[in-house]
């Protein structure tokens, strides 16, 4: 029923307060999120009609995950309820030179063990115009991969735009496994969201020039990759390649290149002091989908998407709780952080 449907797993995220280490934690902050769910949440907070499809246990912990989606206005009516457990990940937020640390406990989740036939794609895609998934979903196991493929095929049959964020996770599968699987899914993809490193390691495509970061960002490598991607998968409509550089443990540069089929543009680069890095890529994805669905010109679109990703770094939790106005203000150049009163 929703205009946009995202498919994937939603997990319970448990984090010590502030900068505490796991072994110091007497309590965990509770957040429910996951790559594709975060995209749905971001789009819904942009005022779009977004839904999420997955399999989530019937018990109260599963219900809390569903409630978090509903709270953000995401349509949950297509979620299958059942299975034994919600995937969990423990997140220790780093500081300065100490990196954030993730301990995964996501095996055997309800979604990872779901059967392909449990999903009725005709019903899921009823009234839908856009389908989004990321490389995490097919990485969750054979069943999840099949479910992902079925969804892509069903979407294509209904002429639904398909976007894919490559999103490689080394703890879920090897580069070889990921490369093979993602190559098999690429023919369904209209909008590809990735970065230079993923394109190289999964698809073996070399950029014309090395990735150079701030202060002189060089996007020519990105452009050469777009050419190669389009040659291999000519159905590709739009390609977005993000670029992140580390200044210090707490600070990053973030920008992106965009080939919308009519030309190649890139955003300005933002220096980011990070509060919570998780979900910034998903906020970027939500940003580009919003921009495309609302017919933004290329330059405006990529600035909006990057600003959406940048802003997410200042928000705790997985989901991007941003308004279009806030993203536009940043995309338009106001990053002063002045009190609005």
């Amino acid at each position: 029923m929703a205009r946009i449907m995202a498919l994937g797993e939603i997990m319970l995220r448990l984090s010590p307060k502030g900068h505490r280490r796991f072994v110091q934690a007497g309590e965990f902050d509770v957040v429910y999120g996951g790559g594709e769910a975060n995209v749905a949440v971001g789009l819904s907070n942009f005022g779009m009609d977004a839904g999420f499809v997955s399999k989530i246990p019937q018990h109260e912990i599963g219900q809390a995950a569903v409630n978090e989606l509903r709270k953000n206005g995401v349509d949950t009516s297509r979620i299958i309820r059942g299975g034994a457990r919600l995937g969990i990940y423990f997140l220790e937020t780093g500081a300065a030179q100490r990196p954030s640390k993730v301990v995964y406990d996501r095996a055997n989740s309800a979604f990872a063990l779901a059967e392909p036939q449990e999903f009725d794609w005709d019903a899921v895609f009823d009234g839908c115009e856009w389908f989004h998934f990321s490389g995490i979903t097919p990485a969750l196991g054979k069943n999840a991969a099949q479910i992902c493929k079925d969804a892509c095929a069903a979407a294509k049959k209904k002429d639904i735009t398909v976007s894919c964020d490559l999103n490689y996770r080394k703890n879920l599968w090897t580069l070889e496994e990921a490369g093979e699987m993602m190559k098999s899914l690429m023919p369904y993809v209209d909008v590809l969201i990735a970065n230079q490193e993923q394109v190289k390691s999964l698809f073996g495509m070399e950029a014309a020039s090395a990735e150079i970061k701030e202060p002189n960002v060089d996007y020519s490598g990105c452009q050469s990759l777009c050419v190669q991607l389009r040659k291999t998968w000519p159905q590709l409509d739009k390609i977005v390649l993000s670029l992140r550089g580390s200044v210090s443990g707490d600070d990053n540069y973030f920008g992106a290149a965009y080939d919308d089929g009519t030309g190649f543009v890139h955003s300005r680069n933002h220096l980011i002091h990070m509060v919570d890095r998780v979900g910034s890529g998903d906020a970027f994805s939500a940003g580009i989908i919003y921009a495309i669905m609302n017919g933004y010109p290329a330059q405006e679109a990529i600035e909006f998407a990057v600003a959406s990703g940048v802003l997410k770094h200042s928000i705790e939790g997985d989901g991007s709780m941003e308004s279009v106005e806030e993203v536009k203000a940043l995309a338009g150049g106001d990053g002063s952080g002045k009190v609005q009163r």
Copy 2:
């Protein structure tokens, strides 16, 4: 190396603050505990030299569980480190007519998947005088059951006293499975800790009279069960049967009967306003083990064990952080709660 060794699983317990429901929780209190670990913690806090043996993942969440044991002075040197996950249970603390609720996520834990040959019982029991386990351990799967049996056999060979708390958990196995398994382990047991209901449902033994609770507790049914238990398993040295009655959602009666081989006694009954019910049975077990190891006469022993269990209801978390002095004061009759200043 420790005088007392307990075998079992230690889990991560996650609870909403106060009386919050799961769906209201923005944070979870973090506790590490489990039936047999709680007994080891309780004994160590009584000043006894207690150790715990299990298999716990190497990662930081596993380390936090080990740290909790070390913090309480429990010897952790015999714990095997490895495996993927720590069992988890979510606990919603009830109030008044609303019962506490547990959502288990303990399948496939490092301990449940441990192989029997990973345990070197000669080393574990080096210098040991007492071995404790509960019915939860063999319920965790075939491997765990075998590990439990191996431990019992090794303990017996070394003339170590074996105590067992029947502790039936309906979400882990059926009454039939449990009855069969526990019957096969009973020949190793010297000290049995149970209650009327468990003895009936697992061993099929009927009490001479129905369990009558406060204000006129009738322990004659317990006495008749002791006779039957001794007849079936003549090696049994001591039998302890606890008795709990519910007055209201927040209030219970708690007492126990004790057949120490020389006679039958029972404790006085305590009315308990419950802060945290989890682990009270384990505190009771720790109490009776302490009393026996320190040569308490029967009446004093059972009053001490019951007071230990009663006191635990006032302590948050799984572990019983009580001193011998505190338990003795309550066993001796001071339940006034007067400020100690």
Copy 3:
């Protein structure tokens, strides 16, 4: 679009932590609720398709109120967004002999200042079967009273069942004002929810016998009131009269009588240790509406409604987050508070 629509104001509730007094509070717990919104939340958590109609400011505090409703699955699509402020009430939770205290700051809320013509009742009631409001709504001012009357009239035209909880609030209007207004609304009401005191003070009807409370509750007064109410408003289909008695500052008795048109029954009486009293009447209303819509026989219906109200006392916040299974278990007699594991 929802089967059930409730009309009213949703407020921001600010409470010191635990039992702290206002002057001791360095932080406030944040809850969004209100009489009729609580009924919608309760029904949605029972699995019913419930919606809420009101006027709520567009700003983030207003959005947070909408999110709380969405989180609980309440349809918010009919809410008008606009106006300047959300009503606020400060709640200090009492303990023992110290009563809870409310400081209201609800004047000039977006809903209280809403114009009757802003509401399109045809759209609101599209597909609706049941309309619920309480005496709080018309008490909010002339506009709100007119909106309430419009809603009643529109509901009647569409043959929608109308339920009303008298819910007199002395800080909003006088007994005379309330009596006059509620009498003018009664002709629209099918299901009346009230208590002896309200019926007497608003409608001037005397019970045949004084209200006698635990241990010997006497419901004959209730029965005589039902006769009088039906005589005055013959269109009344069902009448529910709750009865509450105070045992101590922390403890109440709660029960109810029910005249469903075919006979007069009453529930058993529950002794309640109160965690949060706010919203218990609304949970009772949600319970009786659920029971009627699901065709429960009279005795079962009133036991369900009372159990729903009783259970709410154990839940923090305004909204009743209960499942049908939990309410049924308590209605069926299990108030033991035993851990469910």
Copy 4:
């Protein structure tokens, strides 16, 4: 400058959250209080012009103690600033059968080490009508005892009413030391606040009959003590004897007897569910001082004082933050705990 001056020590109180044990505490709640300071706070919250005199370190922890007094409207202009440390006590709040526990770390506090000549009693008592101290003050050491004596003598010279709460603390001195000291101070006292046990153990006076508690409180023992006290110290104007009985760990009975010189009365008895017992005696003292200063008749006075003490049990922290209206409502019989809205 204040009408009422209290002399004593104010301490930093550190308590684990809720019912946590000391060894479980990752944070301590911070409260500043002490017997006589609590009386000043209570009187100020009743709208009286109360001051506190002591010696408090200049550093920020000392300043925080001063701020707490100022926050409650207590005049702090007569406090001497200096010395090295504020006395500390650690308080673990008990639950059910587990008693609250206090670990004192109050030795060598700024006040305990203050020199008598640091205090200018003429200035302190300028405009003063009432002087209050308790048995804790002279127990703090030779200096404190002398300061206390100096204050009493100066007060008497200025015709200021002197009230004394015997308040024996066994961890500060022996019964013999306390008895000797308090006897030497009694000639200065106009209003004596005590209980049967203290009068017996410090002054060796036997009640005519044993203290009998709820349900049949017998105050005849109190009356006989009043006769003996007046015989020994004929200058005594008024005598108040409180009476506390323990029902369970969480519940107490509390009442008091009062000989105001014209007759002997006693209050009704209150059953109290205790949230925080510390400071309830001080709230009782504040109550009787308020009642006397405002000319309450004997029965009304003792009911007010007892209600003030009872209400304090429901308030976290040392200080009694109660209004005259609240105390009067309870003294007048409303202990229903009904929400005030």
Copy 5:
């Protein structure tokens, strides 16, 4: 009675914890503050005898505001108690590129609705030497503007020094309204606190050169404005113009220029990493008032005022809890943040 009196509104500030967004907040931090109240608090913490005059409701939320002032040693004896509500503002603290956000709910506050005749200026200014107000006070409505004017006139009659912080708030009134009103009040002002932007937009005065910020701050524009201000309002004794520049969302530059009637000086510029920006202007005002009242030479005075403002950015809440020693250390150049031990 106090040497310094400030007039204005004190509000309840509600903020999500840390960097949480409004829609993520399950609790709000509670702070009581407001422009002029913050100045009084700052001066009192500098050891000055400062008071605050306003109208504040009698209820507990109002009392908590009064308590916060008392806690900081501010004289509250001249505050009028009454009216229905305390103004509220919701503050979401930004991070990095995400600006802080304020939602105001201050209409119809007790102070905004106060009547001019409720204030007895003779009594308020008894013993007073300095009167401070800001542009927020007359912006609160016709009554507040009149009260402000009355206060100015009364102060002038008593030869009290009057300081005014222009403090324009665009959500309270238009630039035209503000300009007209502030111009009418300027003849009463001895010490003007403002910045270039306000002077231009309210008074239409153009600086000789554009405001240039770090690294080469150019204060010549400020100097030219001082000349114009003195020409228009020759009674002006001292003029302080602050200057703030944004480096990033979290970082600002802050400095100020000062024309004390004998010459023109400016402070060095501080780079600030901001913890809480609210109240930094008020801390700056408190600093310059303190410096003038204590006869600091011009250069020392402006360095002190700027350091006071700078330090406030590191303190959570509205009020500036700084000591003279701390401000002097920073003014003197120690901004190293080394641990003081």
Copy 6:
């Protein structure tokens, strides 16, 4: 029994939450630590067998300190239990230009009042290879100084390596007292940990060149000091001199020089954004001890030690909870703070 023994005092540290000032604190975070205890904790978390010797009260606050050590795997079996109080220090964490502030309340602690004869050094050093102490220990008083000397002498007799961190604390003793004492202890020291300033002020040794900090760190001054130190105390085996520079209130540079007897090396310099500065020197000491005991070559050793110190700045609390892997990663150059997933 442990391979490494550290001697010193462990204290209770009490800190307001986050950046709160002392006077704003309604709760304190509770941490147990102290210079030498932190070194033992750091070494144990590196997997070394470390113990701590001290005197700690028997009460629960003392027990909590012992538990913290046990939690981190530190051997506490040699700690003497007794005495009245644990030393306390209050820590206010600064921000930006506002420095952190410490209020000490450590006088008369159990350790400071311990008698030299209470320690049985033969037993303490049984099986020990390394003894560590810092300049804080002998600064605690005559007894503590004697205990320290006894320990050094006993260690030397057993051929145990002795390391000493000069660690001068100006609030404990004067430079003269410290210089005299530390000079008398130097003959026992094998491994000296210090910085230029301490060597100069305590031993009167002048560096060949001034300390120059980032961006061009000049370690030639350090080298000249090593020559002088070795000349005075030829038994010195290794010398480590750390170097810290302040960039802003929140940011420091940190590096170190190392003369291991075979040559002189220095580490690279790290820019640190500080979360908690306390204990970073101790983490540095733990690092160098670990590196030496594990036979690291000089360059690798000093990089490891510095990385250990750097990492500690990102960890809240006194103790360094770091793994060897984490320190190595940073020593090896990865300070990017990238999420590890």
